[in-house]
Each structure stands twice: as structure tokens, then as C-alpha cells.
């Protein structure tokens, strides 16, 4: 009995191994250059990875349609290699290993956050430039990680600076953000922003990721009588539920958040109630943005008519733009050379205008590309640019740096 079983098993094993090895031989070399896309494409965090593919697909069509990317006297077609890491650190590491060792990618696009801690030791060893969307991931022991698009959580300072100027009567703020790396970073930077703007933070307790019922949390936060409700970096799923609770529990005031899923929110609360909410992400059809961005929006809308626009759509693509700039400057697609070319350039074009490198003071490396950041307010149900704010101006104000360092130390994000 056992013998037959072992035979069947051995045959199965042999079959599996044959296919396993055969797939190795097929992987041949080609003239294209590959970029890894290691992000959550399924599972609960998919909202942070999936929409980005829409932007990168349009980008690839455009660049390859125009003959590819020029590096010195060579031209390359660009290919995106996807890996679904389900928002799970160990899967992201598996993905990084596959993308780097098997697909030989020259750069990697990632969401960042908790995954970075797992992936970065390996990526640094192979010197592969990684573009993330979370600035607080930048760290001395991750030399090749950079954030060239999303200035999270830095822009919380600027949103709040704007609120302080535009709504001088608002004096109390409650921050509701989740208890993970991203959520806590939002709380720390927001607290610094509020203190600098002379606004008292009445509630900033992080909530657990497992929370499904926000009624008790919102009740506790509203009991502190805030004029401002900051969603910090709450995930879109959380935001809609928190705001629904705040609305039904009879609160009215100024709302701010790192970003919105506006479609989901206005399904739960009236559009008028959200009027004036402050954030930093215009839709790309905003007339104050460039013509190129407006055209991208039209193209995107034609391609995905039912989809909602969010910053995720263009941010991974923004990484590709910066990478292309680096390749052209370096005259090579080699990861290290592109990295050096980018870092030695005093300004690098960011989606929101020329950006400069910053970050050494708080993250230990100048790997964050900082442009002047737009401030948006919701006007008749759509974000509209109402101001532009500069991080360097904020930092130059007397006392602001000390306040920032104080809160980063309080939340153990700085030694």
C-alpha cells in the first residue's frame, strides 16, 4: 500500500520539478528594461496598489509608443513586472526576491509602510532603487529607498498651517488615525502642525486596525468638543465610516485628511457637509494644474470611465517620471547610476513642480523630493486648489523645527 503511494508521490514530484526547472530555461534575456511593481493588488489593501496600475499602464503606452526611453545612445522599451504582495510584508519580500533575482528589474515601485522594514535589507544589498509613497520610510539603513511623489506625512504640517490661517476661530482639534506605522506617523506630524498653528489637540488616540464599529471611537473623540477633525492617514474604508459617525452624532466643523476616497465618503454623508474639507490632492482635471496633467486625466477617464480618481492613480506613475528623468541624466539604466544622477541634480521635476531633496534632519537621508505642495478644499463636491505651501518656509519659521522634533520624539520616530 505504501509502496504504490510513494510511487504516485514520486511521479507527481518528478512532474512538478520538471516544470519548475523548465520554466527557468524559458526566461530569456531581451532588450527591454524591467521595473518591478510590488504592491497590494488583492486583499484588503488593494485600494493602495491596484489603481496605480491604471496610471503606469498609460505611462508605458506613451513612453513605448514614442520609441522607448533614451539612455545614452541606447533605447529601451520599458516593461512593468507586477507582483501582488497582498499588503503583507513577507509576501513583499518574496516579491522583491523574485523581481530582482529572476526578472532582473532595475527599479521597484512600492507602497511602503510596514512592508519596507521587511523588504529593504534585501533591496539595499542589491542596490535597487525603490520608490515608495511614504516619506517616513526613508532611513539611513535604506540608502536606495526614496519618495519622489507622495510627501506623506510631511504635508500634514502644511494642511494645518492653511487651516490655522483660513479659519482662525478653530482652536481645538481631534485626530483619528489607525494604530500602524502610517497612521502613527500622521498623528505625530499632525500634532506638530497643530501646536505650531496654536491649535490644541484634544484627542489623538490611535484606533486598532481591526475596528469595524467606529461609533464608540467617534463618541469618545467628539466628547472633547473639537472644532477640527483630522482623519490623519485613515484608510479610505475607515474614513467613510468615521465621517458617517461624526455626521450622525451631530458634529459640524472643519475636516482634514491626508487624502480622500471622496466617492465612498459622499455615499454616506451629504456632499454639503463635506464642503470646505482640507487636503492636498487635486484631481488631475484641476485647471490650476499643467496641461499635460489635464490631458492625462482625460485619457484616464476615457480608459476607466467608472473608476474614481485618487492620488494612487498617478503616484506610482510619478515614480516612473522621476526614474525616466534620472535615466536620461545618467545615460544608463543602471540602478546605482540613476540614483546618483537623481541625487546630484539640485532640482528634480515633481508632479507639482520643481522639487528639492530634503529629509536628512528627520529621516537621516535627503531622499524625499519636496515641491511646493498644493492645498485643496472641497468646493461643490470636488477638491479645488486654494493655495500652495512650502515646507521650507514652514521649517524656517522660528520655533517650528523644535516643535516638530518634540513630537517625532514623543511618538518615537526620532531619537
Amino acid at each position: 500500500m505504501k509502496r504504490r503511494f510513494l510511487t504516485v508521490f514520486a511521479m507527481l514530484l518528478a512532474l512538478c520539478l520538471t516544470i519548475f526547472f523548465a520554466s527557468e530555461l524559458v526566461a530569456a534575456q531581451s532588450e527591454t528594461v524591467k521595473i518591478g511593481y510590488n504592491a497590494p493588488l488583492s486583499g484588503p489593501a488593494a485600494a493602495w496598489g491596484l489603481p496605480g496600475l491604471e496610471g503606469t499602464e498609460i505611462w508605458i503606452e506613451e513612453v513605448n509608443g514614442a520609441g522607448g526611453i533614451k539612455a545614452g545612445d541606447k533605447s529601451y522599451k520599458v516593461e512593468i513586472v507586477k507582483f501582488d504582495n497582498e499588503g503583507d510584508g513577507s509576501k513583499a519580500l518574496l516579491g522583491a526576491r523574485k523581481l530582482i533575482l529572476e526578472d532582473k528589474i532595475v527599479a521597484m515601485l512600492m507602497l511602503g509602510g510596514a512592508e519596507s522594514a521587511v523588504v529593504q535589507p534585501f533591496v539595499s544589498k542589491h542596490k535597487i532603487i525603490t520608490f515608495v509613497l511614504i516619506a517616513s520610510d526613508i532611513s539611513k539603513d535604506r540608502p536606495f529607498l526614496m519618495d519622489v511623489t507622495d510627501n506623506f506625512p510631511v504635508y500634514h504640517l502644511l494642511h494645518i498651517q492653511y487651516i490655522g490661517e483660513a479659519y482662525p476661530k478653530a482652536k481645538r482639534a481631534a485626530i483619528l488615525s489607525q494604530d500602524d506605522e502610517i497612521g502613527l506617523a500622521a498623528i505625530a506630524w499632525s500634532e506638530a502642525g497643530f501646536e505650531s498653528a496654536g491649535i490644541e489637540v484634544t484627542y489623538s488616540k490611535p484606533f486598532g486596525l481591526e475596528t469595524t464599529d467606529f461609533a464608540p471611537i467617534v463618541t469618545a473623540a467628539l466628547a472633547t468638543k473639537p472644532d477640527i477633525l483630522s482623519m490623519g492617514a485613515s484608510y479610505p474604508e475607515f474614513q467613510a465610516l468615521i465621517l458617517e459617525q461624526a455626521y450622525t452624532q451631530g458634529w459640524k466643523g472643519i475636516i482634514t485628511s491626508a487624502c480622500w476616497d471622496f466617492k465612498a465618503i459622499t455615499a454616506k454623508v451629504p456632499v454639503e457637509w463635506m464642503e470646505g474639507a482640507v487636503s492636498g490632492f487635486p484631481d488631475f482635471d484641476d485647471p490650476k494644474l499643467t496641461k499635460k496633467q489635464n490631458e492625462f486625466y482625460a485619457k484616464w477617464q476615457a480608459k476607466y470611465p467608472d473608476h474614481g480618481f485618487s492620488e494612487i492613480v498617478w503616484e506610482y506613475m510619478g515614480g516612473l517620471d522621476v526614474w525616466k528623468f534620472g535615466v536620461e541624466k545618467a545615460g544608463s539604466v543602471d540602478s546605482e547610476k540613476v540614483f546618483q544622477a537623481l541625487k546630484s541634480s539640485p532640482t528634480v521635476p515633481h508632479a507639482f513642480g520643481p522639487g528639492v531633496w530634503w529629509g536628512n534632519e528627520v529621516f537621516g537621508l535627503d531622499n524625499l523630493l519636496v515641491p511646493n505642495w498644493p492645498i485643496t478644499e472641497i468646493r461643490s463636491g470636488k477638491p479645488a486648489i486654494v493655495a500652495q505651501k512650502s515646507l521650507n518656509d514652514w521649517l524656517a519659521e522660528a520655533g517650528n523645527k523644535d516643535i516638530l522634533f518634540k513630537y517625532l520624539k514623543k511618538w518615537k520616530m526620532m531619537k
Binding site: C16, F20, E24, D84, G89, A114, D179
Partner: protein, 314 residues
């Protein structure tokens, strides 16, 4: 079964060759898949050890997490070398297992199943809630093991050396577990599952034996956790959540838990299947779901019972 047939000799001869040569023929990424497979083999075998006493524990993946967290604290935070933290962390998992096995030993059958979930989930929630020392959702980081500095073939940051380290520990663990299984203790455990009242009447201390099985199983789950942690270099509570437990159950049910090799066959076959189906990756959970329902209906004792079924049908 005393005589070794040609086929068995063939398998016994080729298996080591395959295991040793495989990592040199495939890419680093696939070597890591094999390493993960070996770790999962320890996990399913140690799980089976507990099931022989009659209870299916849903705390087994959190027990693996205990090993991983213990080694993260020992080698990551305190700087104790891997070679000491491996047994120490496994022991920590065994002691945690011993502690929770006391309330669990009072339950049996489905009550055991649910209670073990509660115990495992409580441990996992502690990792999330108590940021000092467990790091919350962010988790902890772990260094790669070092034996001799600057010896290339012993650089355990690389996939192939780590594969051989894992292979060695896996074989050792399987040998020890196999000895347990074949020993008198193993017989007693099985007696608890099938004839609990009889075992009680002839004076076997049921609680003691159940707790022993749980601790030994947790020890090896801890070993698996240590190996996993030192390969991933970072751990977070999410990795030891219920989804991983569901896959563990699927592997064991697929392979069958009556024999020592059953669960190993289950995890090996399903891992290769999942890798072959990578183009259809989004469909894989559904395919697994369908396989598991069909297996339970038509082959309730798992793949291991296939040969005898085939024989009966002849």
C-alpha cells in the same frame, strides 16, 4: 514492509540528490520557495503531533509566531547569536504552549478547537497591543545568522546557504518527531484520541500527556518560526493570523493526518500546485477551496488514503 523495494530504493536514492542539487539549478527566488516549503513541512509535522491526541489546535500558527517573536527579541534586540536563540526561542514557544495547554486540556473536540483559537488570538492581540517589546503592527526585525564571517558559502544572507541550514534543521526535527511518533509516548497519544475513557481507566494521566503533546508540538512550531524569522529578517503579527492557519488546515486535510508522511505530502503537493498555477494566482484560493471540499467528500482521510482506495477498487 521490511524489505525495501526497488521503487523505495529509487526514491531513497534520488530524494537526497534532488534535495542537494535543486538549489543550484534554480534561481534564488525559487530556492527561497523551497526553504519556505521546508519550514512549512516542520509546521505541518508538528501540527500532526498535536492532532494525534485528538484535538485540532488553531493556536499552532501563533505558536510558530512565539518562536519567531522570541528569536526576534533574543537575537534582534539582545544580540544573542542564532545558534543559541534557535533552541531558546523554540523552548519559549514550548513553554507558552505548556501554559495555554492547561486550560485547553480541559476541553475536547470542537470545544478544544474554539478554545485554542481564543488562546492563539489572545497571544496575537498581545503582539499588536503591547508595542514594547513586540513592536505592534510594525513588528520586529531579525538579523541573518552568522557562523563564520566572510566565508562565502556560509553567508546565510544568501538563499542557498540558508536553504542548507534549513534543510539540516528540518531533517533533524523530522527525525526527532518521527521518534516521538513511534515511541510509547506516541502510542499513548494515539490512545487518547481513540480510547480516552479506556486510557483513563488504566491509569494514564490524560491531562499530562495532552499537555506534553501540545508542548512538544509547540516546540517544533517554534523551530519553524525561528527559521522563518531569520529568513524574512522581519516579522509582523499579520503573518501569524488566521489566514495562515486556514492554509495549514488545508494542507493537513489534503494530505491526511493518519500517517506521519500524510501532512508532508499535502504541503509539498499544494505548494508545487500553487507555484505551477502562478499565472492564475487570483484563482488559487478558489481552486484550493474546491479541492478541499472534494477531498473531504470523496477522500475523507486525505491523499494518504488514495493508494488503499485504489487498491480496494481493483
Amino acid at each position: 514492509m521490511l524489505k525495501i523495494s526497488y521503487k523505495q530504493a529509487f526514491i531513497l536514492g534520488t530524494l537526497p540528490v534532488v534535495l542537494i542539487s535543486a538549489p543550484f539549478a534554480i534561481s534564488g527566488y525559487k530556492v527561497d520557495l523551497l526553504t519556505t516549503l521546508l519550514i512549512n513541512i516542520i509546521l505541518v509535522s508538528s501540527f500532526r503531533l498535536i492532532t494525534t491526541t485528538g484535538g485540532w489546535s488553531l493556536a499552532h500558527v501563533p505558536m510558530m509566531g512565539c518562536g519567531a517573536y522570541a528569536t526576534a527579541l533574543l537575537s534582534g534586540s539582545l544580540g544573542i547569536p542564532f545558534w543559541i536563540s534557535l533552541p531558546a526561542a523554540a523552548l519559549a514557544a514550548a513553554l507558552t504552549g505548556l501554559a495555554i495547554s492547561y486550560p485547553l486540556s480541559r476541553t475536547k473536540g470542537f470545544a478544544f478547537f474554539v478554545a485554542s483559537f481564543a488562546a492563539g488570538e489572545a497571544i496575537r492581540l498581545c503582539w499588536i497591543r503591547f508595542k514594547i517589546p513586540f513592536g505592534g503592527h510594525k513588528g520586529l526585525t531579525i538579523p541573518a545568522p552568522v557562523l563564520f564571517e566572510n566565508v562565502a558559502w556560509m553567508d546565510f544572507e544568501e538563499a542557498v546557504p540558508y536553504y542548507f541550514l534549513t534543510l539540516t534543521v528540518t531533517l533533524l526535527s523530522l527525525m526527532i518527531m518521527y521518534r516521538f511518533n513511534a515511541s510509547r509516548i506516541g502510542d499513548t497519544w494515539r490512545a487518547l484520541a481513540s480510547e480516552e475513557n479506556l486510557a483513563k481507566s488504566i491509569g494514564i494521566n490524560i491531562v499530562k500527556y495532552k499537555m506534553l503533546a501540545f508542548s512538544v508540538g509547540s516546540f517544533f512550531a517554534g523551530v519553524a518560526g525561528v527559521l522563518l524569522a531569520h529568513r524574512l529578517w522581519a516579522i509582523e503579527p499579520h503573518q501569524f493570523g488566521f489566514t495562515t492557519t486556514l492554509y495549514l488546515l488545508v494542507w493537513v486535510v489534503f494530505g491526511g493526518s493518519q500517517t506521519f508522511t500524510g501532512p508532508i505530502v499535502g504541503v509539498v503537493v499544494l505548494t508545487f500546485l500553487a507555484e505551477l498555477l502562478r499565472p492564475l494566482v487570483e484563482w488559487v484560493p478558489m481552486i484550493f477551496g474546491a479541492i478541499i471540499i472534494l477531498i473531504l467528500i470523496y477522500l475523507p482521510n486525505g491523499l494518504e488514503s488514495l493508494p488503499s482506495k485504489l487498491r480496494l477498487n481493483k
